[in-house]
Subunit: 199 residues, 2 copies
DNA sequence: GCAATACGTCAACATGGCTGACATAAAATC
DNA sequence: GATTTTATGTCAGCCATGTTGACGTATTGC
């Protein structure tokens, strides 16, 4: 970023920055494809800011944890496994694959590391003994907690500084970006408050 | 995910899911480190949900564009360059490096591809001819627009379904997660509305 | 003139994705 | 009971994108 001062300043050149505050203001117009000239550009500027916020926030959200894990010879992929196994003890391999959306070959590499190094353990399913139910060992839970503490302090500060209403808005928008299937599952697992599709 | 039904259900076992709705409810308690027993667990559950929302939203936000770019033999790294150059025509290489937070060697690979394939062009800086100011060619702007349309429809729907207030909250939380330096620059470049640090 | 700066490049390596092919055990079905 | 399907694992190789380290070249600025 540094001293970026776009020499062109397209799209929003006509509209003052404060104008961009009135997002989604024409209620019907924005919902229907037939929008007037101005709202369309405002919308684009607003969307681009949203895209950038997603990029920056995710970049900085992952940076600290990555640096910490690196010292242990682990990567972000390892942590994702740790996190979701810790969050859902007894998770099936297929469920973890569905969460991460990667191939079993990719997963097996990191999961193999974690098992070999004693962070994760497997147990055969009770009703279906083909399944390997995953859970964290004490060691794994300890590591997960350490990394969580890093992320916790970052997110907690952001939530605290933004206030409860903003956090609600954050949740709603993030849910709206998610693929509908996982959104529904998320809302079922946790409280469903006023979701994007109204309760 | 599928049929995950945590057999343990830690932390929040005592609290009903609806209880989790009252996030950051005790105004002073959550801001100070001395929290009572319950709010601490509520906070952890809330934070974990936030972490998961970040993961899921980012996963699904990038999925469509990645698939599209793959057909052209390009990756997410190429698109990031396209996006930020399109957004800041005349961008210096060092500025792009600062945005992406990668090494110049990593950047040079993707940037080289983009220049070679006619998506991006370089021009020497006017005052400082050591600089290579980056901008999109027509071809590059066309591709950027195509990918943007994909992301636009996703984000626009999420924004529309959530409402203006929620989008404000989303912005505030994401800004709060960002590294303060870039947050400040973002707020300077765009309207600064009520940011996390007040005005 | 010389040091610092902006940028580029070569080489080697690590991580974490991917595909394809094949293996095994347990469950489910005919 | 034999067969098929499912859940999982594994080997082998490839690709995208990140890293470090070393070095080269203009150009700027003191």
């Amino acid at each position: 970023m540094a001293d970026i001062k776009s020499p062109e300043s397209r799209s929003n050149s006509v509209f003052s920055v404060t104008d961009a505050n009135r997002h989604t203001s024409p209620p019907a117009a924005t919902a229907s494809p037939k929008v007037a000239a101005n709202p369309l550009f405002l919308r684009e500027e607003e969307i681009r800011q949203g895209i950038e916020l997603l990029f920056y926030a995710y970049r900085d959200f992952t940076a600290e944890a990555d640096a910490f894990l690196d010292k242990l010879g682990l990567g972000r992929a390892h942590h994702r496994c740790l996190y979701f196994i810790g969050r859902n003890p007894g998770l099936k391999v297929s469920d973890l694959l569905a969460i991460l959306r990667i191939t079993k070959q990719s997963l097996s590499r990191v999961l193999g590391d974690l098992i070999e190094q004693g962070y994760v353990e497997q147990a055969p399913g009770l009703r279906d003994r083909r399944q390997r139910l995953l859970s964290l060992t004490e060691k794994g839970a300890g590591l997960e907690r350490d990394v969580f503490e890093l992320q916790r302090s970052l997110i907690a500060r952001a939530f605290r500084d933004s206030g409860a209403e903003a956090v609600d808005g954050f949740r709603q928008v993030m849910l709206g970006i998610m693929e509908p299937g996982d959104r529904t599952k998320f809302l079922q697992r946790h409280g469903r408050r006023k979701g994007p599709q109204g309760v």
